[in-house]
Symmetry: C2
Subunit: 256 residues, 2 copies
């Protein structure tokens, strides 16, 4: 059974302030918990029903684990459809060095607000071998439960950083000389542009796009053309969808 | 002020059964309502605060409209962050003829469950000039408020149909001779495959993919390769993201 304090701690994970005070985050579901364990993350607490199958190679690790009833697990879960395991894991700050990222494509998020969009972007970054995502400080919080759930375990492999974007870009450009791609409604047709797989790719806020201050630092403005050209259509693409199309096109060109 | 019956009718739109009984759906927010009006849809009821700006060319249309307080609009809204207008619109059944779709790319959804994913797919179909989406009967309901909101008005331009998929595909193949593309975790690399922009593109359920019965009717199995090849990564891409990448690649090849 869970203690009163354990229940309170799990419930507290719904709030960023509480997550930061405790330095923890909540991950729910077999797939995500397994991915985090496999990545070497040590939970502060695992809560599972007796139907959960612990990977055998992890049995020796001896992390604190509470076996509980399905009913109790459902009560503490923050998800609509609770699964048979959840874990409290320590937050992790990653160091970001230009020397380490200069030979790969790195994503920059300028004020992406929706946690679902951030989770989607982390998951697709994982698919496309993008190791680092650098976020403005007003981007959605990595440890928001919605981000964790929609990233589907990709946070075990993709490093997400929060920093002052303009300061970061300035130093990155000076130290690497790499291009800085920015996505706009008007820019070079992404299918015709020559895309280098060493550089930054900046995606903007859902409603406002990339801030002017950040936009002015972009060296290559690119756009995803609608089809057929010049017909009435949606005003824009969802930022997760746009990021997916761009990453796909960068990697397609890299594979030629 | 809204009558009690009007309030009840709006609240009923949260449930599929009630939506179908009344033949109506709820759209909230200036952008979506404008898009639906611009597409020639006549609302059964519009509810707006006095801050809403009605497009001048529509003033003459005389549809039933209630001006209400922000407070009352917030009370009847199904959204977390209500806007200054909502509308009840009639559901619309579109006819689907193979002769009308055989020269374009048509999307097929085999059991896509998440309303947000369906809305995302409708929005990106609009961007990529896909006029018709054919859904299995167990796909999320087009008129679910989450679908309407995440489609961002694209439902004014994209026709969404529900039918028995295997029956549809069988007749489509016979009548058009076009290819039937299906997306799988194993298939031809989509960047190297020759993609024709006349045909069907089938996307599967979030967890299970395409059903075997439907999969057996596919003529071209395609896949989005992860990058770099053969490194540990996420097991799959979100279905909205995968659809976006594939539609982008179909249209890129069409533009060559």
């Amino acid at each position: 059974m869970l203690s009163k304090n354990q229940k309170k701690l799990i419930a507290a994970m719904a709030q960023k302030k509480q997550r930061d005070v405790h330095g923890l985050f909540l991950a729910e579901g077999d797939k995500i918990v397994r991915d985090l364990l496999a990545a070497g993350m040590t939970p502060q607490l695992l809560v599972a029903t007796d139907t959960w199958l612990l990977p055998a190679n992890l049995v020796a690790e001896h992390f604190p684990m509470v076996i509980t009833s399905r009913d109790e697990l459902e009560k503490v879960s923050l998800q609509k459809t609770p699964q048979n395991v959840l874990g409290l894991f320590p937050q992790h700050k990653h160091h970001l060095k230009n020397s380490a990222i200069k030979n790969n494509l790195t994503l920059l998020l300028d004020g992406v607000q929706d946690p679902g969009n951030l989770g989607t972007i982390i998951r697709l970054a994982d698919w496309f071998g993008i190791g680092d995502i650098v976020c403005s400080t007003d981007t959605a919080d990595l440890y928001n439960p919605k981000v964790i759930q929609s990233s589907m375990g990709a946070i075990a492999r993709v490093r997400v950083h929060y920093t002052n974007l303009s300061g970061f870009i300035e130093i990155y450009k000076k130290e690497t000389g790499n291009p800085v791609y920015g996505t706009f409604l008007k820019g070079d047709n992404v299918y015709q542009a020559k895309l280098l797989n060493q550089g930054l790719l900046i995606m903007g806020n859902e409603g406002q796009g990339i801030r002017d201050e950040i936009g002015s630092m972009v060296t290559n403005r690119i756009t995803i053309p609608s089809y057929p050209a010049n017909e009435p259509t949606s005003e824009s693409l969802n930022v997760g969808v746009a990021t997916a199309i761009l990453c796909s096109e960068f990697r397609r060109q890299a594979s030629l």
